[in-house]
């Protein structure tokens, strides 16, 4: 029996794309465009389009400050998360003792959700938490303030994003052919030289993607900033500013403008990282096979 090729009319294949295109249009493109449109029609304005909201936000020091507050949390936290995840994943690249258990433990926070993690951090690191009780009981120090401030937010974000970043990098690193490392060792490279000359150039494109994603997630920080931070001041992030405009001041238009500014900041971060990545690619760092896990 011969199989007959079914020939579709030109363009008929596009028909199959329609459901997903419709979904994207209604669930993403339209709300996004509507948000942008909303942001350009200030409630105080005359009903026409204007940049009043944007100017109002950027020229108000109390509001504009949230960009720096957010960046001051997001950038160091992203660097810390990616660096530590890289260290752990690199160490575990050829498998370690109890690997499955350790991986499960590390991944658990993803399943638990932001609020539970924040509560856990309050319970453990809080003024009356186990850590402080232990420190005081051992006579090591007075209670240390680790929650309801910048440190608390940093801890919460790290706990939430580390597993994701770690898994992504582990997949990436363990996908690199072990023979490359062996070849480097035999032909004279010590472990550090293996990392610097062979492994890092191959890992860097993956690390850049991990960095970009963690940065975007960190920049949108909201629940952690409220629950374990100090949302009235030092950890009043841009997401909190948007929330307050929307639900405390009932100014959806201003809130939309703030959301657009937040998106723009995330986009700038992404572009910087991707530019760096493409510069690496131009020097010959080929993307190696995807991870095996």
């Amino acid at each position: 029996m011969s199989l007959r090729r079914v020939r579709l009319a030109p363009g008929a294949g596009l028909l199959w794309l329609l459901p997903s295109v419709l979904y994207l249009l209604t669930m993403f493109v339209y709300p996004f465009c509507y948000g942008v449109y909303l942001s350009l029609r200030p409630v105080t304005g005359d009903g026409g389009l204007s940049f009043g909201n944007y100017l109002g936000f950027l020229l108000d020091p109390w509001q504009a400050r949230t960009i720096w507050v957010t960046a001051w949390i997001a950038v160091p936290n992203t660097i810390l998360t990616v660096a530590l995840a890289l260290l752990v994943a690199y160490t575990m690249r050829r498998g370690i003792w109890l690997e499955r258990t350790i991986t499960t433990l590390l991944v658990l926070p993803i399943a638990l959700g932001t609020v539970l993690v924040a509560e856990g951090i309050n319970g453990f690191y809080g003024p009356k938490g186990w850590l402080n009780q232990l420190l005081v009981a051992a006579g090591i120090s007075d209670p240390v303030r680790l929650t309801r401030n910048y440190t608390g937010v940093m801890l919460a974000l790290f706990v939430q994003h580390f597993p994701f970043c770690f898994l992504m990098l582990l997949g990436y690193i363990s996908g690199i052919d072990p023979a490359l490392e062996h070849a480097a060792r035999i032909h004279g490279a010590r472990p550090w030289a293996v990392f610097r000359r062979v492994m890092w150039p191959l890992i860097a494109p993956g690390a850049a993607i991990a960095f970009a994603l963690v940065f975007v997630m960190n920049f949108g920080v909201f629940p952690s900033a409220v629950l374990v931070g100090q949302p009235a001041g030092p950890t009043r992030t841009i997401a909190i500013a948007a929330y307050q405009q929307a639900f405390e001041h009932n100014d959806m238009s201003m809130a939309s403008a703030i959301a657009v500014i937040m998106g723009a900041c995330q986009l700038v971060g992404l572009i910087v990282v991707l530019l760096l990545r493409s510069r690496m690619a131009a020097t010959g760092v080929a993307t190696v096979g995807a991870g095996k896990r």
Partner: protein, 361 residues
């Protein structure tokens, strides 16, 4: 060029958990020697190579090079070169940078590195490709780069882990000759791992046949090819006909005769065998000759069941009266279902002790 070694002596035991992969695998390799570890997959040959390279720790045993222990040295301090089955070229480095890798780590001056890399690329017949990346090269070119990378550091010992098995048949034969030429020209000491008997025979000064982590036979390629000591080696070296016999005669010149029903074989005894003992007469398809002799010692008659034309020769399957099948390779065509006689020279038959497990007829 390379710093010449006198002897490499090792005794390797490797266990993974409860599984013993190498069981006191011992050998002495002389300087400038080309030694091949030959065996089926899982026999421990690659593990042995990785232990020598320092990529795996020994469970027990030792490795010494010119009487200095090296088994505790990390791989980067052993001064070896290695060629991998999948080439293992650094994908982010150019051909030049790949070959220069070991030299740059040794802190040599730029001019000397450039000079040595250029010379080595000439030697492996790859000039003009310095600026390419491995992904832009063919498999054969990649393996040449990998060989250049291993040789440019003037290794005391060159380790090759199935370097040709990813190449197509024609290229494999070409590269085989290339490796042999480089080994001789540069005065290298090489250890080569393969499961391909043709590679082992054509390249080696000495072949070590391995099975389940042990040496089953070691010798020159001719030794291994013509005088297999066991059924396993015979099967691995291309013997395709195995006839269980009982020993009827042992002659002073080492010839052993055996009989099974009306079939009688005589050949070189691979081990001392007693009269009446069970043995196996083994021979290769290509050692059978068409004959008009009547049935007798080393002459069998049967009906052709299958013919395969191979270009220069014809492979036949002949069914004997006993129902047993003989595989033969003859120079001229033979009709299917015709009855033919086949003769063996006594020096082409080997009478082996039976063996539990392993190869069989």
């Amino acid at each position: 060029m390379a710093e010449q070694i006198k002897t490499l002596r090792f005794r390797l035991t490797k266990r993974f958990g409860v599984k013993t992969v190498l069981d006191d695998f011992a050998l002495e390799v002389q300087g400038r020697e080309f030694v091949t570890f030959l065996g089926p997959s899982g026999c421990g040959k690659s593990t042995a190579l990785n232990l020598l390279a320092g990529l795996l720790p020994l469970s027990a045993g030792e490795i010494s090079l010119d009487d200095a222990r090296i088994d505790r040295l990390p791989p980067e301090r052993r001064g070896f070169g290695m060629v991998f089955q999948n080439y293992a070229l650094f994908p982010h480095l150019t051909v030049f940078e790949n070959v220069a890798f070991g030299l740059a780590l040794r802190g040599l001056p730029r001019a000397e590195i450039a000079d040595r890399v250029a010379r080595m690329l000439g030697l492996v017949q790859l000039p003009g490709l310095e600026g390419r990346y491995p992904g832009q090269l063919s498999g054969g070119q990649q393996q040449r780069v990998a060989i250049a990378r291993a040789l440019v550091i003037e290794p005391r010992l060159l380790l090759l882990d199935e370097p040709l098995s990813n190449l197509d048949a024609k290229l494999r034969v070409e590269m085989r000759a290339e490796i042999k030429r480089l080994h001789a020209d540069l005065g290298l000491t090489s250890i080569y791992v393969t499961h391909d008997q043709a590679e082992a025979l054509s390249l080696s000064d000495r072949v070590v046949v391995m099975r389940e982590g042990r040496v089953v036979q070691a010798g020159t390629p001719m030794d291994i090819h013509d005088r297999p000591a066991s059924l396993f080696v015979a099967d691995f070296m291309g013997y395709r006909n195995f006839f269980p016999v009982s020993v009827t005669d042992t002659r002073a010149d080492g010839t052993v005769a055996g009989q099974s029903g009306t079939l009688r074989f005589a050949g070189r005894g691979a081990a001392p065998l007693e009269l009446g003992a069970a043995a196996i007469a083994a021979f290769r398809p290509e050692d059978l000759m068409l004959t008009e002799y009547p049935p007798g010692e080393n002459v069998v008659w049967g009906r052709v069941r299958l013919t395969e034309y191979l270009g220069r020769e014809h492979d036949l399957e002949i069914v004997l009266d006993s129902g047993q099948v003989v595989k033969a390779r003859v120079p001229r065509p033979v009709a299917v279902r015709s009855v033919i006689g086949l003769r063996l020279a006594a020096d082409r038959v080997v009478v082996l002790p039976p063996e539990d497990g392993g190869a069989g007829a």
